[in-house]
């Protein structure tokens, strides 16, 4: 019996029509008669739709100038955006004081961006700073009244600045409330559980606009005579409570994902309910629901536009009102396009980050 040493057969290149550009097109675009027809139809529709839009938005558009007179009649007038840009960003915030907004923004980025990187060593310190200290600093900077800073009332806040204030404040406020609601919903005490379920289900069943109206119109009635509430504060309370109910459901999902064995192990070690939650359950649960929390934030960010209806000048409202300015009649499309791009950019970036975190978590276990 001859023993042989096996020489592996060489790798041959695949047939030409099954690889490369041709192969790819055959498999992906023209794999059957129906697909071929659909591909050609889709290409035709794209050909009809895209060049005119590009012409309007880019090739024939006006980018430089000072006023409406500089713009061409048939194409986009981005001059509108350029001239009004500061208002879109800051609202009616006085020009001299805008450095305060910028400073707060830089602080936020400086403290927040490093947290997105895993290897960052001082995560805990920076997180605590962001959640507990930064809000006060930001409020003092925005509102003023101390340290010689002139008071800038909230009715002057507007634009992207206001949108971010509303979104970030609401999400930060809604997280602790949401966590408590989620814990309460899973509580064994019937009274606590009923109250939490009732609140969560009620808030999730009604449109945000009714809660905004409720806060806007009814809150002054709930308070004793003479106590008045800032309009922005009323909106913030409404959005924070609204968001808290959805956050509670997200966190509840995370709590349910923790295996029962974790709770049992903690119990058998003698840990109390609050210690168990703080040390063992919540750290795991919150990590799991980070994608859900980012999703909530994206939704919240889009929902801030509703304050348009109660008369706050967020980014969308500022643009919509500017478009009705007699000097800029007919520029609404440019305005909406600009607003759409900004919102889209923020939301898209956040959703990509959330997907990245989700992927990391999935490979982690």
């Amino acid at each position: 019996m001859t023993d042989t040493t096996h020489i592996p057969a060489p790798d041959l290149p695949p047939p030409v029509t099954s690889i490369g550009v041709i192969g790819w097109m055959r498999a992906n675009l023209f794999s059957s008669p129906l697909n071929t027809i659909l591909t050609l139809l889709a290409l035709y529709i794209l050909y009809l739709a895209i060049p005119p839009v590009l012409d309007w938005a880019v090739f024939n558009a006006t980018f430089v100038g000072d006023s409406r007179a500089d713009c061409s009649k048939t194409a986009a007038c981005w001059v509108f955006i350029r001239v009004r840009f500061p208002q879109f960003m800051y609202g009616l915030y006085p020009v001299d004081e805008r450095w305060r907004v910028n400073l707060a923004g830089i602080l936020l980025l400086g403290a927040g961006l490093p947290l997105l990187f895993d290897a960052f060593p001082w995560k805990k310190v920076f997180s605590i700073f962001l959640l507990c200290v930064y809000p006060f600093i930001a409020f003092i900077l925005f509102y003023g009244g101390v340290f010689g800073l002139p008071v800038i009332e909230t009715r002057l806040w507007g634009g992207l600045f206001l949108t971010l204030v509303i979104a970030i404040t609401s999400i930060v406020a809604s997280m602790p409330i949401g966590i408590f609601l989620a814990l309460g919903r899973r509580s064994e005490l019937p009274v606590v559980r009923m109250l939490c379920i009732g609140f969560i289900e009620f808030v999730r069943a009604v449109p945000l606009i009714t809660i905004l109206f409720m806060s806007s119109v009814m809150l002054p009635l709930f308070l004793p005579e003479g106590v008045s509430f800032d309009k922005l504060a009323r909106a913030l309370i409404a959005i924070a409570l609204f968001s808290a109910a959805y956050m509670a459901e997200t966190v509840r999902g995370g709590l349910q994902a923790i295996p029962k064995g974790q709770y049992e192990a903690a119990d058998s070690m003698g840990l109390t309910y609050w210690k168990t939650m703080r040390l063992i359950i919540l750290p795991q649960a919150l990590k799991i629901v980070i994608p859900g929390i980012v999703g909530s934030f994206i939704g919240l960010f889009k929902d801030t536009t509703l304050v348009l209806i109660i008369g706050l000048f967020d980014l969308l409202n500022i643009i919509a009102t500017s478009a009705q300015d007699p000097n800029w009649i007919g520029m609404a499309i440019e305005g909406y396009a600009f607003a759409a791009v900004i919102f889209w950019f923020f939301c898209f970036a956040m959703s990509r980050y959330s997907m990245h975190v989700e992927r990391k978590l999935n490979t982690g276990h």
Binding site: T4, P8, D11, P13, P15, I19
Partner: protein
């Protein structure tokens, strides 16, 4: 236990007894050459075991036989029907070839009985009563007739795989293929599935089994085929294969799996 299978005689049987012929078959995934010049003939009532390291292309090979995968070069002829892009041919071949998967793939929303009668009713157009009667016979053959009205989720792994075997048998195939049928089962359930497969072999079914269960190979296989890197390295009758492997690759593989 069956009689000792004919060794080389089966390999040289006349070609008109061939159930499956693979001639010069190549397959690529993109640029990855996964099957290299496969030449294989399987005769009626022959039982083949294919083994080899993971990634060697054994699953791909049998999935080409019932067109779950497409080959790019060469010919595959099953019971006289050549496998091409012709959908009618593919449908005919799939009626003649049964397949049992590693993960069972039972339909969870149907009862066991409905799983078995689905294809006979819709593909062979049998009346329901007739299909159910035949299905119950096969369930008895795999020894779980009492599970007929349960759902797959209520059965153990070994029971599910036996239902899967019965489901394939309900179409009265001429060839049965098994893709690692016991590799996801708990040890105590492997035997019940292998027993069913051995009983099937004794009825003269043509079988191709991809597995690492070498005891099964020794018991019923006419031929053991070793594949690595997309090619058939060696094939022989079981005693010859296990006791006198010729190629160094085969020897290496056997030393790794026959340790315990």
């Amino acid at each position: 236990m069956t009689e000792a299978p004919a060794s080389n005689a089966a390999l040289e049987a006349p070609a008109d007894d061939a159930m499956i012929q693979m001639i010069g078959v190549h397959k690529w995934y993109g640029h990855f050459h996964v099957l290299k010049d496969i030449n294989l003939t399987v005769h009626r009532s022959e039982r083949i075991v294919i083994c080899g390291p993971s990634g060697s292309g054994k699953s791909t090979l049998i999935r080409c036989i019932n067109r779950l995968e497409e080959h790019q070069r060469g010919q595959i002829i099953v019971d006289g029907i050549e496998l091409t892009h012709d959908l009618k041919n593919i449908g005919e071949v799939r009626k003649e070839v049964g397949m049992v998967f590693q993960h069972f793939n039972l339909f969870p929303h149907l009862t066991v009985l409905e799983n078995l009668t689905l294809a006979p009713i819709w593909v062979r157009k049998q009346p329901k009563a007739e299909a159910e009667e035949a299905a119950m016979k096969y369930l008895e053959r795999v020894k779980i007739p009492e599970q007929a009205n349960k759902y797959p989720g209520q059965l153990s792994g070994g029971q599910q795989q036996r239902v899967a075997i019965a489901r394939s048998l309900c179409m009265n195939p001429k060839i049965m293929m098994f893709d690692e049928p016991t590799s996801t089962l708990d040890p105590e359930m492997i035997k019940e599935v292998l027993d069913v497969m051995i009983e099937l072999a004794e009825t003269g079914m043509t079988m191709i089994v991809v597995t690492h269960e070498m005891g099964f190979a020794t018991a019923v296989a006419h031929r053991v085929i070793f594949m690595d890197g997309g090619e058939i390295i060696e094939q022989n009758a079981p005693e010859e294969f296990f006791n006198n492997p010729r190629s160094d690759r085969t020897k290496l593989f056997l030393s790794q799996i026959l340790r315990h």
